[in-house]
């Protein structure tokens, strides 16, 4: 136990350690299991007599090789990256100016509108996917990556506006006033002052939007039917399964490879995302 504070009793400390360790193991175990499974030989995996926790046969890279050479995994990876970049771009173009407008320019009803925007984030894909599939096919986008590029900003834009509003409000008004006096237009102050100052907030939005593209499942499953246009989130669990046959080794390898980088990046920005979720209930 580091840091100041009253010294706790041994029981309290033991209790805390038990809880922390217990949950850490429980929550992270599936990922550990993905790692083990990825490197086990197929024969080792599918033998009920084997102790599943150890390598009964030497580790193998066969599943990884299969994943990268025989499946569309790399393709899905690129699809995800591409869609992610496009969604990030759309989100920034729509959300950054809107958030600043709501935070600064629209006065009293800006706050109300901001909350209204935030509430649209609560509208789930499972309520919209049926009419949305009609909209998508009317636009002629069904079964293309564009289908999700166009629809994903429906979650990223509202949440990003909400998140950025918090950032922009934290910028002292004096700074923008000073820029106005110093010779910029309001819009100039936004572009040359507010945006550079808010880079960390904007980066948060970038990460949030990108990870959301990797995480979303329902729209991608609904709008995209062919395997080669899929993202990782749907491609791996749906299209890596041949009929009823699960290739667990390569499947788990794919899960692990896709999860860890996203988790690492997300973890760095966690506190800022949380600030967006607390709706001002935490100051």
């Amino acid at each position: 136990m580091a840091g100041p504070g009253p010294r706790r009793s041994l029981a309290t400390r033991l209790g805390r350690w038990a809880i922390v360790l217990g949950f850490a193991i429980l929550l992270a175990f599936p990922f550990y299991w993905m790692a083990i499974t990825s490197f086990k030989q197929t024969a080792d995996l599918y033998d009920v007599e084997h102790d599943p926790f150890i390598f009964n046969a030497p580790p193998t890279l066969a599943h990884l090789r299969y994943l990268f050479e025989q499946t569309l995994f790399v393709r899905w990876f690129w699809n995800t990256t591409l869609a992610g970049a496009a969604v990030v771009a759309i989100t920034l173009v729509l959300a950054v100016p809107a958030a600043w407008a709501l935070a600064r320019l629209t006065g009293r009803w800006g706050q109300q509108l901001g909350i209204g925007i935030f509430l649209t984030y609560l509208v789930p894909p499972t309520l919209l996917f049926i009419p949305m599939s009609r909209v998508i096919s009317t636009l002629g986008l069904q079964d293309t990556l564009w289908a999700i590029i166009v629809t994903y900003p429906t979650f990223t834009v509202p949440f990003s506006i909400w998140l950025l509003m918090g950032f922009f409000k934290a910028i002292p008004r004096d700074l923008e006033d000073a820029a106005l006096v110093d010779g910029l237009t309001r819009f100039g102050a936004f572009v040359k002052l507010v945006i550079p100052i808010s880079l960390s907030g904007i980066l948060t939005v970038v990460i949030f939007s990108f990870t959301l593209v990797t995480q979303e499942f329902v729209y991608a499953l609904t709008f995209i039917s062919s395997a080669e246009h899929q993202t990782i989130g749907v491609g791996v669990p749906i299209f890596l399964v041949r009929g009823d046959v699960y290739y667990w080794g390569s499947l788990m390898a794919a899960c692990l490879i896709a999860s860890i980088p996203i988790a690492l990046v997300y973890n760095l920005f966690l506190d800022r995302f949380i600030a967006g979720f607390t709706v001002g209930a935490v100051k």
Binding site: V20, F23, L27, F29, P30, F31, W33, M34, T37, V48, P52, P97, A98, A101, L105, G107, Q111, L113, I115, L119, L122, V123, P124, T126, L127, L128, F129, I130, P131, M132, S133, P153, T154, V157, P158, R186, F217, V218, L221, T222, G233, V236, P237, L251, M252, C255, A258, S259, I262, A263, Y266, N267, L270, I274, A275, F277, T278, V279, A281, V282
Partner: protein, 308 residues
């Protein structure tokens, strides 16, 4: 001396909205248009479809009133899904909130390795949900389940007739709830942690000076102060759970015998795979009341936060 309100109003009207306001409107409109087109319009369509006759191939639109609602209400599958949705949401939220509270309290103080623990604890939330779920499908495999292997080693289950976690109705429901809780616990934990760290250190210290023990401090000071943030965690949890179909879809596809079917997955099977857009939309619309309740409660939290 003070100008009469009417005079002031006239002066204001003459000048109209300020340039700043016009700029604000210009900057906000693209986002608003987008949201209206891709959230507002589909939302309206969802309601229209639910009272109409629309299938994947159909061209026109025929108003059929409450026909779709009557039809889904009469269907045993729907009633089962409605019930399952509530069971799924309420049980997993109970598990989540209890676990997240314990975990947040345990993680509150800094200790060596806290960063690593936080990363591990967060994995289920930050990793793509569909991939986490497919991982669990392997963990709960009917033959090679490591869970069963451990239980068999501990002689808790019969090695030769292990439980079919995803194949028996009650167990399947429990599994789905457990996996969804597994995914939601990290999210609630970090929200609660944010609430905990926002409690000024002096308050529990004052309680300690006043002679309150750990449990008294927890139940009479910490928990009440955390109430708003717990509300937020639960409200998000309810929305994310009640409207989610990923875990169910990947683990069980609603089976066995539709016993784990929830409203969103049923809507998907009916409206998207079954091509009956109207009936699917009608099922989806049953999500709305819950969402409205959550939205209202959320507004109250936000409103209170603003006043404070």
């Amino acid at each position: 001396m003070i100008p009469a309100p009417a005079v002031v109003d006239a002066l204001r009207r003459r000048r109209g909205p300020s340039r700043a306001t016009w700029l604000g409107i210009a900057l906000f409109s693209p986002a608003l248009v987008y949201i209206l087109a891709l959230v507002g319009l589909p939302l309206v369509l969802a309601f229209l479809y639910s009272v109409g006759d629309v299938t994947v191939g159909s061209v026109g639109y025929r108003f059929v009133g409450l026909y779709n609602f009557r039809s889904v209400l009469a269907s045993p599958a729907f009633r089962r899904a409605l019930l399952d949705s509530f069971v799924f949401t309420i049980s997993s939220q109970l598990v989540v909130i209890v676990c997240a509270n314990a975990l947040a309290l345990a993680l509150r103080e800094r200790f060596r390795g806290r960063g690593l623990v936080r990363f591990l604890v967060l994995l289920p939330w930050v990793a793509p949900v569909s991939l986490g779920a497919i991982g669990w499908k392997w963990l709960l495999d009917s033959i090679y389940s490591v869970v069963n292997w451990v239980l068999a080693q501990a002689h808790l289950v019969n090695r030769f007739d292990p439980p079919m976690w995803l194949g028996q109705p009650a167990l399947a429901m429990a599994s789905v709830i457990a996996v969804h809780s597994w995914r939601m616990i990290p999210f609630s934990t970090v929200i609660l942690l944010a609430g905990l760290t926002s409690i000024p250190k002096e308050i529990p210290e004052a309680a300690a000076v006043d002679g309150a023990g750990f449990w008294r401090t927890h139940f009479q000071i910490t928990l009440p102060m955390m109430a708003p943030i717990i509300n937020v965690a639960v409200l998000f949890g309810v929305v994310f759970t009640f409207t989610d179909m990923t875990v169910v879809y990947i683990l069980t596809r609603g089976g066995p015998y539709d016993t784990t079917q929830v409203l969103p997955s049923l809507a998907f099977f009916t409206g998207v795979l079954g091509s009956d857009l109207s009936e699917g939309a009608a099922i989806s619309v049953f999500l709305v009341p819950i969402l409205v309740v959550v939205a209202i409660l959320m507004l109250r939290v936000a409103h209170r936060a603003e006043i404070a």
